[in-house]
């Protein structure tokens, strides 16, 4: 039997299939804008061929099919979506358009804000009101719902978003509206804000609800088409879809909650990092991915993926907990330029895929990071993108010479090196800020280098941040798809509590605990996860009473016990001190929300990582000095590092075998990527064929930060 994972991205669709023996086959197919289903069939056919089966046989023998999709986010970025009406509390129909006045770009008045997603004449105020405690102070006007239903039909509305004030405290009015509307107009798609988020803040909740209303019908159509196509071709199991939090859901749920899948693909990458962290026993891991246009960072900490309570995309706030992925405009295509004061800058503008870097020879005139790497000798002009493209060194040279080197009075290699270093500093700062702002010490992390361009920067990036170990996974080019393999069903439930932690009556605490438990269990049962496979993570959002932002603290015991609360408080003060430079242990704490995350256990992974552990435990992972399996390279190349060209060894990934050790400086060439091993680095290929790199020769004062 086979398990298939597909990550359909903006430029490529990545595929990976595993058989029962754990062998993996992969492929990469260009995405198609015109026919989004075509590349899926093409990729699956290629995989079937690799397994020496017909497509029908191959799909028939598949027992798991996981999808990461960009359908939702593409529709969002292109301004597409279902024709949507928005129902709000009467007197508040403009929250969507009024926004909150704060701007990302305040020094340029010309910058336009993102489009208002529902025009004003399709925003309707409903006569009803909940107060701030969640008590109804004005009942829902049923007569008005009849008028609304008529108006919506007349306007040919395809989707209805409902966000009423304080529905996060009490969803009754929203639920009532939906029931009455659907009784009048059966089958109309309605999204309630309370189904998506229990967080306070009507602006962010409204945007989240409207996005879901607009995008869900689009995603739903796509998934229906995909399902019937795959069924035709022989697939007999349901499709699972990856969500923003790295968990899976089924087609029914995904079709109603597109906003949960906006970061479906990138979530696979974080999940891949999480699996890698477990296999490599690196509980603290920075997952860094550099592609053509951007540099993305996420964190694994204490073997868990780091979440954020809300995120922003294209200027729209999304009020949902999701994996925390930070993006900086520094990718292979990012443009280097001199500002009017003659200072060298890199990004955030990108030359994209067309015209692309100057060295693509497609008419690009601007020097990019890729051009700099080519001039430095880091990449091979004849073997780019696995040999699919030949790079024009002359064009790269000229672009850097004219735009950067001559104006600054530098040689072209010097200018290229400066571009490389400045791009590097942007990445260093991004990783640094991502960790320190959460109170973590970046030096306690290891770095996973994925994506086509990052391995050129990985050892230098690690060194800049103070990281001592880098891992380049064998499957780096299809890393997101590979991560989807590890994704499992996952549901989260939340209740807002709003009480002083120590004063909450045991009975209400117990009731909330019970409610959360039954809510997640119900959903997991629907998804077919049996009770034995379930795992629960409890957490509490706490703050000092007059504070505005909460901190999320995990806890183990759920009993209504003062000791449990005391322990929660202790953790909170400790974390606060770390994050903000002070704490006030004498103060009482406000419990804002209780959360329960329920996950399907990853049984097979457990054994996988046990195996790896046995192998790793047979000795120090860095055994180079004694094993002497240091291969000789008979290939040298000239690379510009630290102010001069120097000869370095070239190795080919395909020639490496487990246990083999390499000393920097060297370049390791792999299809779709090249790894730069700096002078002070040692690398070893492990049994799982991941390349483990140690930065710095002196490991006396270094210890693993396993907790």
């Amino acid at each position: 039997m086979y398990e298939i994972a597909v990550d359909v991205g903006g430029t490529f669709a990545d595929f990976i299939v595993r058989d029962q023996q754990g062998s993996a086959f992969t492929t990469k197919v260009p995405s198609s804008h015109e026919d989004p289903l075509e590349p899926i069939i093409k990729g699956l056919s290629e995989l079937a061929e690799q397994c020496r089966l017909s497509l029908k046989e191959f799909l028939g023998q598949t027992n798991k099919f996981v999808l990461g999709t960009t359908v939702g986010i593409n529709a969002l970025l292109e301004g597409q979506g279902a024709k949507t009406a928005l129902i709000t509390t009467e007197g508040f129909r403009d929250a969507l358009e009024l926004r909150r006045s704060r701007l990302a770009e305040q020094w340029d008045f010309r910058v336009a804000l993102p489009q208002v997603l529902v025009p004003r004449h399709l925003r309707i105020g409903l006569r009803e009101r909940m107060d701030s405690q969640g008590v109804s102070i004005k009942a829902v006007d049923h007569g008005q719902i009849e008028e609304i239903a008529q108006f919506l039909r007349q306007e040919e509305i395809e989707s209805v978003a409902v966000c009423l004030l304080f529905a996060c405290r009490n969803p009754a009015h929203e639920v009532e509206f939906k029931e009455v509307l659907q009784a009048l107009w059966s089958g109309v798609f309605v999204t309630l804000s309370s189904e998506l988020s229990s967080q306070l803040g009507e602006y962010e909740r409204t945007v989240t609800t409207v996005l879901n209303a607009r995008l869900s019908p689009v995603l739903s159509n796509y998934l229906q088409d995909l399902r019937s196509l795959l069924c035709d071709k022989g697939l007999q199991v349901p499709i699972s879809i990856a969500q923003n939090d790295g968990g899976l859901t089924d087609l029914i749920q995904a079709s109603q909650s597109a906003v949960h899948t906006l970061f479906s693909g990138p979530a696979g990458g974080v999940k891949g990092g999480w699996a890698l962290a477990r296999e490599q026993r690196l509980p603290e891991l920075v997952v860094a991915d550099m592609g053509g246009t951007s540099f993305d960072v996420s964190l694994i900490r204490q073997s868990k993926m780091e979440m954020t309570p809300q995120a922003e995309i294209a200027g729209y706030p999304i009020q949902l907990p999701m994996l925390d992925i930070h993006t900086v405009g520094a990718g292979g295509g990012s443009i280097a330029w001199l500002d009017k004061g003659g200072m060298l800058q890199v990004g955030p503008h990108s030359a994209g895929a067309k015209p692309g870097p100057a060295c693509y020879g497609l008419g690009g005139q601007e020097p990019t990071i890729t051009d700099a790497a080519l001039i430095m000798g880091l990449i091979d002009s004849s073997n780019f993108l696995g040999g699919r493209m030949t790079l024009q060194k002359k064009q790269a040279y000229e672009a850097i010479d004219i735009k950067i080197a001559q104006p600054l009075g530098l040689s072209v290699p010097e200018a290229a090196y400066a571009i490389y270093q400045i791009a590097l500093s942007l990445m260093v700062d991004a990783v640094y800020l991502m960790t320190v702002k959460k109170g973590y010490d970046p030096r306690s992390f290891a770095l996973a280098a994925v994506g086509g361009a990052l391995p050129l920067f990985a050892t230098a990036l690690a060194e800049g941040v103070g990281i001592r170990q880098v891992v380049v996974p064998e499957l780096a080019p299809v890393f997101c798809a590979q991560g989807l393999h590890h994704a499992r069903f996952q549901v989260e439930a939340l209740r807002s509590v709003y009480g002083v932690l120590r004063e909450i009556p045991s009975s209400s605490w117990n009731q909330v605990i019970l409610e959360l438990q039954s809510e997640v269990d119900q959903e997991l049962s629907r998804l077919g996860v049996c009770p034995k496979q379930r795992k629960y993570v409890w957490s509490a959002d706490l703050k000092y009473p007059d504070q505005h932002h909460e901190i999320n603290i995990d806890f183990q015991r759920v009993a209504a016990d003062p000791e449990v609360w005391q322990q929660l408080g202790k953790e909170f003060h400790k974390t606060h001190q770390k994050l903000y430079g002070y704490s006030q242990p004498e103060k009482s704490l406000l419990l804002v929300n209780l959360r329960l995350l329920a996950l399907e256990r990853e049984e097979c992974l457990q054994t996988e990582s046990d195996q790896v552990r046995i192998q790793v435990n047979t000795g120090n992972p860095f055994t180079c000095k004694t094993s002497k399996r240091i291969p000789k390279s008979n290939e040298l190349t000239s690379v510009y590092l630290r102010g001069a060209f120097q000869e370095v060894d070239i190795f080919h990934w395909r020639d490496l075998y487990p246990g083999m050790c390499l000393q920097g400086p060297a370049l390791i060439k792999k299809t779709f990527t090249t790894i730069l091993l700096e002078e002070n680095c040692e690398a070893e290929l492990d049994q799982a064929r991941n390349l483990s790199i140690k930065i710095g020769k002196d490991d006396d004062n270094y210890e693993y930060q396993n907790e």
């Binding site: 007197g91 508040f92 129909r93 403009d94 929250a95 358009e97 009024l98 926004r99 909150r100 006045s101 704060r102 701007l103 770009e105 305040q106 020094w107 340029d108 008045f109 010309r110 336009a112 025009p119 004003r120 004449h121 105020g125 107060d131 004030l165 304080f166 306070l200 803040g201 009507e202 602006y203 500002d339 009017k340 004061g341 003659g342 200072m343 060298l344 890199v346 600054l408 010097e414 200018a415 090196y417 400066a418 270093q421 400045i422 500093s425 942007l426 700062d429 800020l433 320190v436 007059d546 504070q547 505005h548 606060h576 994050l579 903000y580 430079g581 002070y582 006030q584 102010g643 001069a644």
Partner: protein, 580 residues
């Protein structure tokens, strides 16, 4: 080896890293502070100054606080000799006549001392909910001296060699209405600075103090060069304008701000000669606020890509006549200054430079006008004080797009974050009845202003006290390039007896009984460009959306909208008649 190359790299790397550190400070401040004006509304700024007090890097925050950091640090340096500034010291100040903006904004300054010398100062400035004085919230519309506006803190030490000076802290906390909240928020400011100082110290692992200082000097020169180049790109000439403040809360007459911007080659002088003398009420603007307003106003005209640091500032000369509205003598009251006249100083520069700023500048913005409210919260019997942040006015149109609704006044543009209605109702004892755009308030133009906002709240406290402060009830946001002005601010009370009482923009404290409804209709922004050139399709959409009435569509835009949409024949005829 490759000294030049290393220099190129170092400059960009250190510049990026300093910005990263200020971001981290800003993040810590926002997440850990308590008072709503600070944490929810983000009314704060933080940055890094060099040993001379020149601002090198700062977060994007409240524009009118942009330069305040450098003034604060320079006042500390003026008062304390280098031997008196030691590792572990923290300074505090708020006096507008000694490095501050207005009294509610407290500056906290933490030096990084390396080998007996200050290499950097981390500085944060934040608006606190109350700083004492005659009225809660410290916006005292009837103050005639700064002493009635709150506690004045000159530059003094709050922490000495790592020890909090409790006598000083006690004295400050004893003079404010929300001592616990203030104490917590001072902790947040000191904590953020501490983070900044620790990160800056780490820079010393990679670079010597001399190299860091050299690079910082380069970054300041670089910003100055960019500014001078942009000035040179504008044609030489004298550009002048007048802008007006409604009144000062005592006299009825508008107060004039006169500006002349003189451009000669790469030199720019912003001269306020001819501005009216200082006034009795709290709309005076002391040196720090006036200078900052002039700098940021000019930089908005010069371009978005210039780093907002002391290098850029030193390329723009600002002349403020002594004893005038924009540079009053101590002890004139100044609390409103960061809103009005700071925004009007900026808008005077916009009007002066509009013709030469390459269509970078918008038409007029709404002015702030709303109350502070205070009393005992009936839900917990605790004292509270709050502000009507949800009463923001709207933005002016600009070449290429309509103005946005619900924008902060210019002095706070893009920096203030308006609270959600839900957060507001949890915070304060009032019920919100309405928060929606108001029809026929936007200034007409090819690109119209953003519509004003109707905001109604019903007070639950018994009594609730309100103090009105603001402007823009007489002078509307200006129209630009033949656009029309926006609408005026309007505020009224509806008592429980059904009586309607219009309020003035500047009023002393008024006690309201439970159930009273306060309604604020904020200004629509000014229009940009001739309204007769506006695309009739856009006018039709505005009518459909209830933003413009059919009558206004006809009157202001010459567009006839009927049930089915634009009546093209009637529109063409109307437009041709009126254009002729």
């Amino acid at each position: 080896m490759n000294t030049k190359m290393n220099e190129v790299i170092e400059r960009a790397v250190i510049a990026n890293h300093l910005d990263t550190i200020t971001q981290e400070m800003g993040y810590a401040l926002e997440r850990s502070s308590r008072s709503p004006i600070f944490a929810e509304a983000c009314d704060f700024a933080c940055g890094i100054c060099n040993g001379e007090g020149d601002l090198v890097s700062q977060i994007n925050g409240i524009p009118i606080l942009a330069a305040a950091g450098t003034f604060s640090v320079k006042e500390v340096i003026r008062k304390y000799s280098s031997e008196q500034i030691e590792e572990g010291d923290v300074f505090i100040l708020n006096d507008p006549y000694q490095g501050g903006n207005h009294l509610p904004d407290i500056g906290i300054i933490t030096p990084l001392v390396v080998a007996g010398e200050v290499l950097f100062y981390c500085v944060s400035r934040a608006h606190h909910g109350d700083i004492g004085g005659s009225v809660a919230g410290s916006y005292n519309a009837k103050a005639t001296e700064i002493f009635q506006e709150g506690l004045r803190i000159p530059p003094i030490k709050l922490v000495s060699k790592g020890q909090v000076l409790n006598d000083v802290m006690d004295l400050i906390l004893r003079n404010v209405r929300n001592p616990l909240m203030l104490q917590n928020d001072l902790c947040a400011q000191m904590g953020a600075n501490q983070i900044g100082v620790a990160r800056l110290a780490e820079l010393l692992n990679d670079y010597s103090p001399a190299r860091i200082k050299g690079t910082v000097e380069y970054l300041l020169d670089h910003a100055e060069n960019l500014t001078r180049q942009a000035i040179e790109g504008m044609p030489d000439g004298d550009y002048s304008a007048e802008e007006w403040v409604d009144d000062d809360g005592f006299q009825e007459n508008p107060i004039k701000i006169k500006v002349e911007v003189r451009i000669r080659g790469e030199e720019m002088t912003v001269d306020f000669e001819g501005t009216d003398p200082q006034v009795k009420g709290f709309v005076n603007s002391a040196l720090v606020t006036s200078t900052t307003a002039a700098w940021i106003g000019a930089l908005w005209a010069l371009g978005p890509d210039i780093p907002r640091n002391s290098g850029a500032f030193r390329a723009i000369k600002v002349l403020l006549p002594e004893g005038s509205l924009v540079n009053p003598y101590d002890p004139a009251p100044v609390t409103l200054s960061t809103l009005t006249p700071a925004s009007e100083i900026i808008s005077s520069i916009f009007q002066a430079l509009d013709s030469v700023a390459g269509q970078r500048l918008p038409a007029g913005f709404g002015r702030y006008c709303g109350p502070s409210f205070y009393g005992i919260d009936p839900r917990n019997q605790e004292f509270y004080v709050g502000f009507a942040f949800c009463a923001l006015g709207s933005g002016g149109g600009i070449s290429g797009r309509d103005g946005y609704p619900y924008m902060a006044p210019l002095s706070n543009y893009g920096g203030v974050r308006a609270p959600n209605i839900e957060a507001n109702e949890i915070q304060y004892p009032h019920l919100t009845l309405c928060h929606e755009m108001e029809i026929d308030t936007s200034g007409a133009g090819t690109w119209r202003g953003g519509p004003g906002v109707r905001y109604s709240i019903q007070f639950q406290g018994d009594p609730t006290n309100i103090v009105m402060f603001g402007d823009g009830m007489k002078i509307p946001p200006f129209g630009a390039a033949k656009g029309k002005p926006g609408s005026l601010n309007y505020v009224e009370l509806l008592t429980i007896n059904g009586e309607k009482i219009p309020l003035e923009s500047k009023e002393p404290s008024r006690s309201l009984s439970k159930g009273t409804v306060l309604t604020m209709v904020s200004s629509g922004g000014g229009g940009w460009g001739d309204p007769w050139q506006r695309d009739p399709g856009k006018v039709e959409q505005d009518v459909l959306d209830g933003v413009i009435s059919r009558a206004k569509a006809r009157e202001d835009y010459g567009v006839v909208v009927v049930e089915e949409g634009v009546d093209w024949a009637a529109t063409t005829e109307l437009r041709s008649v009126l254009l002729a």
